[in-house]
């Protein structure tokens, strides 16, 4: 279950609508980005990734957009389903030196899908 006092940004959408979840990252040297989905009581799961030499990547029902100019990442979910309800995190990595495996996670957005 959820903790008392949780203050995650929350996005509520109707089933079947498209969802857009946004993420601002801080390090202009970051060259690799991942979106994760975390369902209640589970660990984060990989959804889609993108490298800095791209500005768009599509998966199944998901699209990630990268705007390096303003250091912004978004995740678009088409035809949102109740099973998409979860907390979504973006993570960034700059792949340099000893930080090549170090990912910084954003604060997360909770997606509520209303049937």
């Amino acid at each position: 279950g959820e903790s008392v006092g949780l203050h995650l940004p929350t996005l509520s959408v109707q089933e079947g609508d498209n969802s857009i979840i946004n993420c601002a990252y801080s390090n202009s040297a970051s060259d690799y980005f991942i979106w994760y989905k975390q369902e209640s009581g589970k660990g984060p799961q990989f959804i889609i990734d993108i490298r800095s030499n791209m500005d768009k990547r599509q998966g199944q029902r998901v699209t990630v957009l990268l705007n390096k100019t303003v250091k912004h990442l978004s995740l678009q979910i088409a035809a949102t389903q109740p099973g998409d309800s979860a907390v979504y995190f973006c993570a960034e990595n700059n792949g340099s030196g000893y930080n090549f495996n170090k990912f910084y996670f954003g604060s997360g957005t909770k997606l509520n899908v209303k049937p």
């Binding site: 991942i34 660990g43 990989f46 990595n93 495996n101």
Partner: protein
């Protein structure tokens, strides 16, 4: 088949006790991690091991001691537990980042919810 597994799933203990959380991955990955997720869902890296060697140690109190007996296991031992240690701890693993490689993502375990009373 579970890729990254952790035990126990729940751990409730008194302040001042010492406890361990175990993690195993069967993905053949070279790198393993421990993350702490607080009550606001903020996920922060604590440690990273690559082929049994510590490569990331993020200003974590030295009451926390990771141990990697082999590259498939990374255990977390916590001494003198404090109330603020209550959180969900996630283990993860990944291959080393490769230039252009498709397998750079981290795979997370199910988490261990630690409650310190």
């Amino acid at each position: 088949d579970t890729a990254v597994s952790q035990t126990p799933k729940y751990l409730v203990t008194q302040m001042g006790n010492d406890k361990s959380i175990k993690c195993e991955q069967n993905l053949g990955h070279d790198t393993m991690y421990w993350y702490k997720q607080d009550s606001k869902k903020f996920l922060k890296i604590m440690f990273s091991y690559n082929n049994k060697e510590l490569i990331i140690n993020e200003t974590v109190p030295n009451r926390f001691s990771p141990k990697s007996p082999d590259k498939a296991h990374l255990n977390l031992h916590i001494n003198s537990l404090e109330l603020g240690d209550s959180a969900v701890y996630f283990c993860a693993s990944s291959q080393d980042r490769l230039a252009g490689g498709p397998e750079d993502t981290q795979y997370f375990g199910p988490g261990t919810r630690l409650t310190v009373l």
